[in-house]
């Protein structure tokens, strides 16, 4: 059997393919790292900047940690002094507390950069998000709807992702009281609080996150214990604290700390 090959068509296909590759290379798809060599090595060049990243609070009490992690990512991904737009649905703020500027200041985010937008519905959040992402001057956009709204589906997240890719503005979906459902986010993180290194005198130390990358469209997933250093804006991977902090109940076999092992 003889198969006829249309050589011209094939050449054209190849040309278009390589053209697309060239376009992708040109697009403003720079990446941002975590500032810690061990995690950046795993993630290759780091996380894609003009993309949609999703951050979940594992449980209700992890809302503070997830918020802190998103702020840290926003700081890592944006240039100094560029404005950060924070879109928060009213109910999320009522349930988990309002974003508190002095505390954000302590995390290293200059509140001057912040524009807080309060939205009464998830639809408002999404519409404002696509507007904010469409503007090149935005440093980062934090999108915080409450729970799993119906309108936050595959199409909506795909639109956000495309806008972010076009303008190169990083978008962070902060998911409080929500469970992961398939969508177009490039990475998906599950955040838990983790024991901090006491700064002495039995006082809580710098923020420590138990971060699990449960989905990564562009590479490997993983699990890290990360400490955020707000002064120089870097994450540092640390060894989990041994279970010694909690005394073992006498009537139960010793158990390793759940959060530390993921």
């Amino acid at each position: 059997m003889v198969t006829t090959v249309n050589l011209t068509a094939l050449r054209r296909d190849i040309a278009s393919l390589s053209e697309r590759n060239a376009l992708e290379a040109q697009a403003p798809r720079s990446a941002f790292g975590f500032g810690d060599r061990s995690i950046d090595k795993v993630l290759g060049k780091g996380l894609q900047r003009g993309a949609l990243h999703e951050v979940f609070a594992a449980q209700m009490h992890d809302a503070g940690a997830a918020t802190g992690f998103v702020i840290a990512l926003a700081l890592r991904s944006s240039s100094d002094q560029s404005p950060i737009v924070w879109l928060e649905e009213d109910f999320a703020a009522q349930e988990h507390g309002f974003p508190y500027a002095p505390g954000l200041n302590h995390l290293g985010l200059d509140p001057q950069r912040l524009v807080i937008v309060r939205c009464s519905s998830p639809q408002d959040v999404l519409k404002a998000a696509s507007d904010s992402l469409g503007i090149r001057g935005t440093g980062a956009v934090i999108i915080a709807p409450w729970s799993n709204p119906k309108c936050l589906d595959l199409t909506a997240t795909r639109k956000l992702l495309l806008t972010a890719q076009q303008t190169g503005v990083p978008a962070f979906l902060l998911r409080l009281g929500a469970i992961p459902i398939d969508n177009s986010a490039v990475t998906r993180w599950m955040i838990r609080s983790n024991a901090s290194r006491s700064s002495g005198a039995n006082a809580p130390g710098h923020p420590v996150f138990d971060a699990t990358l449960i989905r990564n469209r562009q590479g490997m997933t993983g699990h890290w214990i990360l400490q955020w250093e707000s002064d120089n804006h870097v994450f540092r991977q640390i060894e989990p604290v041994s279970g010694a902090v909690v005394s073992t109940p006498a009537h139960r076999p010793p158990q390793t700390r759940k959060s530390a092992t993921g």
């Binding site: 702020i71 001057q112 309060r118 404002a128 935005t138 006491s198």
Partner: protein
């Protein structure tokens, strides 16, 4: 029940105001009555006042049933005073409104002629003569004084006007003299218009009312260009723009827009206008068509001409300003906010969220750098408003809690720092405000909390209450 208002036929038939309804019914069996509604009357008058905006921007309410228009400088648009007055009468009678009007050199005289004579356009030269012929009722002074004047044998304003003012004031009060001065134009009483007089205004009057939205948009475009051309000559931009649509049936629709920085071009204005139109509860309805469309810069501000530099930051601030404007129009100015520092130790007051529209043009407020660099955060990222009450078990009475229950979950504390004592601001609080002792806590699963105890143990407080105020990262 009494009569409060009559139509022409009823007045001719001999009925009068304040007459008892039963008396009126006795005279005319099938009397057509409607209950008085001052609220609806006022609403109608407001609507008419809006409509009168087509003649002059200076429209004021005059009592419960009158309007005062300052037409200084507007007359030539309609020909002369007589044509203007004819135009008002003709248009209003088309809407079924009975009008009495007068045009004179001062507001008080116009009021008197419109209400107490046939009304006319009265030239300044004839004003004094005609005023003198008005009856005493036109003075609108208290009934006692009016009766007093009549008893003295005086009949017209002219009779009173010639009398010495000092004697008049002594006998009938200063009110009468003031009234006379106002009528003859000796004292100036400016009217207080309902709306702010815009800094700059352009309008288009259509011979044929516009019904199709596309043509409305075209007209608006042309008006926008004209408005910004005028503003540009004054090196100004518009911070607040109002578009007014006058419908042929008398409806007036106004759409206001606020911007964070002075607007200088039609394109940006149109983006905001479209945003505003899409959020309207009842959409802009052309009905039988608009016959006047007006665009006014209610508030103008000096613009700074910025040279476009190679550096892109200027361009970017412009863009973020535009975003803030658009979001503020869609969601409301109270929902697009910027945090400003407040000099206080009370945590919930340490930040005030100000509408970003109002602050976009001003330089942003500086936040003081964190006090102890290198130390872990001392303030939470999320703050509960109001604080949520928790049940605690403290190791020692005056110390940090050993464990607490928040939202039905028990947290065992492993790390704690505190107290950070924050006293109430006595110059602001009521006497009952209590001192708070704040603690930073970390439980055995790594959650970090900000809790406080309200009140001190030693001051007779038997069971101080504990609250969770915030979550740390």
């Amino acid at each position: 029940m009494r009569l409060t208002a009559l139509d022409e036929r009823a007045a001719k038939a001999g009925l009068f105001k304040t007459m008892a309804l039963t008396d009126a019914r006795a005279q005319f069996e099938n009397l057509d009555i409607a209950f008085a509604s001052p609220r609806k009357d006022a609403a109608l008058l407001e609507k008419l006042a809006d409509w009168c905006d087509r003649y002059t921007p200076l429209v004021a309410l005059d009592g419960a049933d009158g309007l005062m228009l300052d037409i200084t400088g507007c007359v030539h648009l309609f020909g002369d005073e007589h044509q203007l007055r004819r135009d008002i009468h003709q248009r209003l009678s088309q809407h079924g409104v009975v009008v009495r009007s007068a045009i004179t050199g001062n507001a008080a005289a116009a009021h008197a002629f419109a209400r107490h004579s046939a009304g006319d356009v009265i030239e300044d030269s004839a004003l004094t003569q005609k005023l003198r012929r008005l009856r005493l009722v036109s003075l609108e002074i208290e009934d006692v004084h009016l009766a007093g004047l009549k008893r003295a044998g005086l009949r017209t304003i002219g009779d009173v006007e010639v009398l010495p003012r000092a004697a008049l004031a002594a006998r009938f009060g200063a009110g009468l003299v003031e009234r006379l001065d106002a009528l003859f134009g000796y004292a100036h009483h400016p009217i207080s218009p309902r709306c702010v007089v815009p800094a700059c205004m352009v309008e288009r009057r259509m011979a044929e009312p516009l019904i199709v939205m596309d043509s409305v948009e075209r007209v608006l475009h042309a008006l926008g260009d004209e408005l910004f051309r005028q503003l540009q000559q004054r090196v100004e931009g518009a911070r607040e723009v109002e578009a007014s649509f006058f419908r042929v049936d008398g409806e007036v629709r106004r759409i206001g827009i606020q911007a964070g920085r002075p607007l200088t071009d039609t394109k940006t204005l149109f983006r905001l206008l479209k945003e505003r139109l899409s959020t309207l509860a009842e959409p802009l309805d052309a009905g039988y068509g608009f016959d006047i469309i007006r665009l006014a810069a209610v508030r103008a501000e000096r613009t700074q001409t910025i040279q476009k530099s190679l550096d892109s930051t200027v361009q970017e601030t412009e863009e973020i300003g535009g975003l803030i404007d658009r979001l503020s129009i869609r969601l409301g100015t109270g929902r697009v906010l910027r945090p400003h520092p407040v000099d206080t130790h009370i945590p919930e007051r340490a930040v005030s969220l100000e509408p970003a529209v109002h602050t976009a043009a001003n330089p942003p407020v500086e936040w003081a750098p964190v006090q102890h660099p290198g130390e872990p955060p001392e303030r939470p990222v999320r703050l509960f408003q109001p604080p949520e009450q928790i049940e605690t078990t403290a190791g020692i009475p005056d110390g940090a809690p050993a464990q607490f229950v928040w939202r039905r979950v028990r947290h065992t504390i492993v790390l704690a720092e505190g107290p950070e004592r924050i006293a109430p601001e006595w110059w602001r609080e009521h006497a009952g405000a209590l001192t708070r002792d704040y603690y930073r806590l970390e439980d055995n699963r790594g959650h970090r909390f900000w809790v406080f105890r309200e009140g001190l143990y030693e001051r007779g407080q038997t069971t101080p209450r504990w609250y969770l105020h915030g979550l740390f990262a």
